[in-house]
Symmetry: D3
C-alpha cells in the first residue's frame, strides 16, 4: 500500500460501512433494528464518560479481533480526545488479555491511528 | 465498491473457493478428506429439512464470524427457498447471541443476499 | 454423579438461574434490561416457527460453548416438541462447524436431554 | 446455593487461585513467568488511571467469557472505587458487544458484586 | 480443595467422561459417530509422532480454553512421555498466543500435571 | 487471482507486515514491546525443537483463525524443514479440534504452502 492509498483507507471504510448499513435497513426487521438502537445508546456518556466507553468498546473489539469494530471505535476515540499514550495503554491491556493472536489487529489499529493523526 | 463490482462478488467468491479446494485436494491426507465428507453429509435433509439445516449452518457461521462460511450458507439458503423474512429472523438470533461484534458480518450477509436477490 | 443427583441437575440449574436473574434486575440499568427484552423477543414464532428458533439458539450456543445457554435452549427445545433425532442432527451440525472442542458440551447436552426425557 | 455459601464464594476463589499460582511457579519456566510479570504491569496507573484499566480488563474478560478473570477484575474494580452504576454501564457495553452468550457470566458478575458489596 | 480431593480429581474426570460418552452413544447418529472416529484417528502417530500430536492437541485446547480437552490431552501427553520442561514450553506458546485469558486454564493444567506426576 | 498474482502474495504479506510493525514501534510503549520480545522468545528451540514449536504456533493460529498468524508460521515451518505430510497431519488436527469453521483458513494455508513450495 502506498501512503496515498493508506491516507484514503479510513474514508473508504466509512463510505462502505454507510452503504452496507443502508442495505441492513432495507432488509432488517424489529429485532436487528432494536439492537442497532441499543448499540448506539450504551456508548453515551453517563456514570462513565463517553471517552472511557469508547476505550471499553475498542478493547472489547480488539480481544474479539473484529477489524471493522476496531476502526469504528478508533475514530470515536480520536473524536473523544483519547491521546496516543492512552491508546497505547489500552491496546497493551488488549494484547496482554487477548494474546499475540491480536497482534495483526493491533498493527492495523496503530496504522489507522497514524492515518487519523495525520488528518488532524 | 460500485454496483457492478458488487454484482460479481459472489461469482468471484465461488471461483476462488473452487480453486482453493483443488489445492486442498492436492495436499490433504485422509483426515482432512474425511472431514470434508462429513461436512457435506450433515447438511443433507433428514429428520430436519435441508432448509432448516442451512439456517443452522448460517447462524453458527455468523456467531463464529466466518465470512466465507456465511456466504456459502447464504447461497445454499437461497437455493433451499429461504425467504428474506426468514433470513432476517435467523440473523436477528445470531446478532442477539453473538452481539454487536457480528454486525460487520451481518452487514455483508445482507449485501450478499441483496446480490443473490437481484440475480433471481 | 449418581443418577439421583443427575435427576436433580436441571431443576437446580433453573433455580440458580432465577436467583441470579433477580440479582441482575437488582443492579442492571436500562441497557442490560433492553437486551434482556430483545433476547426474549427474537425466539418468538414468526416467519420461522419457535421450534426452529430454539434449534438456532441451541446450535449457536453449542458452537460458542456456553453450557448454561445450551441447557436453557435444550429445555425450550423439549417444550417445543423437538425429537431426539432432530436434536441429534442439529448437534451434529454444531459439532462439524465447531469441532471436537465442542464435544464436552455435546456430552453434557445429551446428558441433560436424557434427564429431560426421563421426566416426560 | 444458600446465602452463607454465596458469602464465602469469593474468599474460596482467592484461596484456590493462590494455591494454583504456587503450582504454576513450581513448574513454569522463563516464558510464563515473564508473561505473569507483564500481566501485572499493564494494569498499573499511567496515562489511564488504574480504575479505568480494571474496567478495561473486566470488559475484555467478559466478552471473552472467562469466569475467573471476571472475578479477579471485579475484586480489583471494588478496590479502585468503581461504583455500581459504573459497573453496570461497563457490563452493558460488554453485553452489547459480546451478545447474550455473555449473560451467564454477567449474572455471576452481579452475584459476585453483590457479595463484595455486602462485605464493605 | 484438600490434597486428597485433588488426588482423586483426574480419576473422577475420567469416570464422568466415560459415563457421558455412553450417553452420547445412546443418542448420537451417524454424523457424530463419524466425528468421534476421526477425532481418534488424527492423533495416531504418522509423519509426526503421537507425542507431538498430543502437544498440538493440548495447545489447541488451551488457546480455545476447553478444560476437559486440556485434561484429556495432558493425560495422553503423560502417557507419551512428555517431560515437564516440554510441557512448560508448549504451554508458554499457548499462553503467548492466547493471552492472559488462558491463565486460569494453565493454572489448572499445571495442577493436573502435578497430580499426574505424583501418581507416577 | 491469476497465478502470477498468487506468486507475489506472500512477498507482499511480508512487506506489509514489516511496514506495520514499524508503525507499532513508532507508537507502542513498554507493555507492547515486552510482549513482542516474549513472542519471539517462546518459539526458540529448547526442550522442544523450534520445528515443533512452529507447528504448535501454526495449529494455535489455525484454531483461532488468524490468517496473518497462519501465514507467518507457515513461512517459519518451511524454513524449519516441515514436510508437506507433517503439515497435513498438523492441519488435520487443527481442523478436527476447530471444526469446519477453520476450512477457509486451511484452504488459504495450503495455497500459501503451494506458493512456498514453488519458490523452493
Amino acid at each position: 500500500m502506498t501512503s496515498s492509498e493508506a491516507g484514503r483507507h479510513l474514508a473508504r471504510f466509512q463510505q462502505e460501512r454507510a452503504r452496507l448499513n443502508d442495505l441492513v435497513l432495507k432488509y432488517a426487521g424489529r429485532g436487528i433494528k432494536r439492537l442497532y438502537s441499543i448499540d448506539a445508546q450504551v456508548y453515551e456518556g453517563g456514570a462513565l464518560p463517553a471517552k472511557t466507553k469508547e476505550l471499553l468498546g475498542l478493547v472489547a473489539s480488539t480481544v474479539l479481533r473484529c477489524g471493522d469494530c476496531i476502526k469504528y471505535h478508533l475514530i470515536n476515540c480520536r473524536e473523544q480526545g483519547v491521546t496516543t499514550q492512552e491508546l497505547d495503554e489500552a491496546l497493551a491491556i488488549a494484547m496482554v488479555v487477548g494474546g499475540s493472536i491480536t497482534i495483526p489487529h493491533i498493527r492495523r489499529a496503530f496504522a489507522a491511528w497514524d492515518e487519523l493523526s495525520e488528518n488532524h
